[in-house]
Symmetry: C2
Subunit: 104 residues, 2 copies
DNA sequence: TTGACGTTTTAATAATTGTTTAATAATTTA
DNA sequence: TAAATTATTAAACAATTATTAAAACGTCAA
């Protein structure tokens, strides 16, 4: 995963509404949740949600799937895990003992 | 870990210079690295670096330690891991099978 | 104590981001 | 086809953020 992609993903999650959206979708799993249901659950206007979905989608963190007049969003676990791995890469020079106390 | 703390940590990492700083410090381990050395390594001005250190420190992601006229910064692994755990909490409703394909 | 070094702070400007309102698009039901 | 539902887009404004240059603050060595 490239640095720019990681920055974009982190940036997408660095906002309270989007973080809440993403966390709900992580719990939902691959089935995802409808846009309107997420909006209601979080008490955010549809227009505002749509902007946030766009940001998260563009970062690759969520994917959309249309079903009738509903749009279901689901977390993209591959991108999430790529981002997490990028942050911890070569932790403590790969020496497991060096940061054992900190569960690194 | 609280949502606001996580947003602050993600926000701190959502910038290319700060992400690079943090990654170097993760590799360094608890010993850390001097501010000037990091600045030189990344080709960023000391003043600019100082601002970024402040942002990362405030988010709790790094800690400073003065040694003579040098200031050493080190990654705070506890906060990093807290942040990572927050993102994956209750993944796929805790069902390991639901997202097995995606290494969640 | 003077001067040099490493780092931080202040102040200013340019660029990016979040939210709202209103309008638009796509899909279903009557 | 027309109306209703679900979601997205466009435009505008307020708020936040990144960068630079200059000045200031500690610390050490002569």
């Amino acid at each position: 995963m490239k640095s720019n992609q990681v920055v974009e993903a982190l940036s997408a999650l660095a906002q309270s509404t989007r973080l809440a959206i993403f966390r709900l979708l992580v719990v939902c799993g691959p089935a995802g949740m409808a846009a309107g249901q997420l909006a209601e659950k979080l008490g955010v206007s549809p227009a505002n949600m749509s902007h946030h979905f766009k940001t998260l989608s563009h970062a690759g963190l969520i994917v959309a799937r249309q079903d009738g007049r509903f749009v279901y969003y689901a977390a993209n676990f591959a991108v999430m895990n790529g981002m997490l791995a990028y942050l911890t890469e070569n932790c403590c020079e790969g020496d497991p003992g060096a940061c054992a106390d900190q569960k690194c």
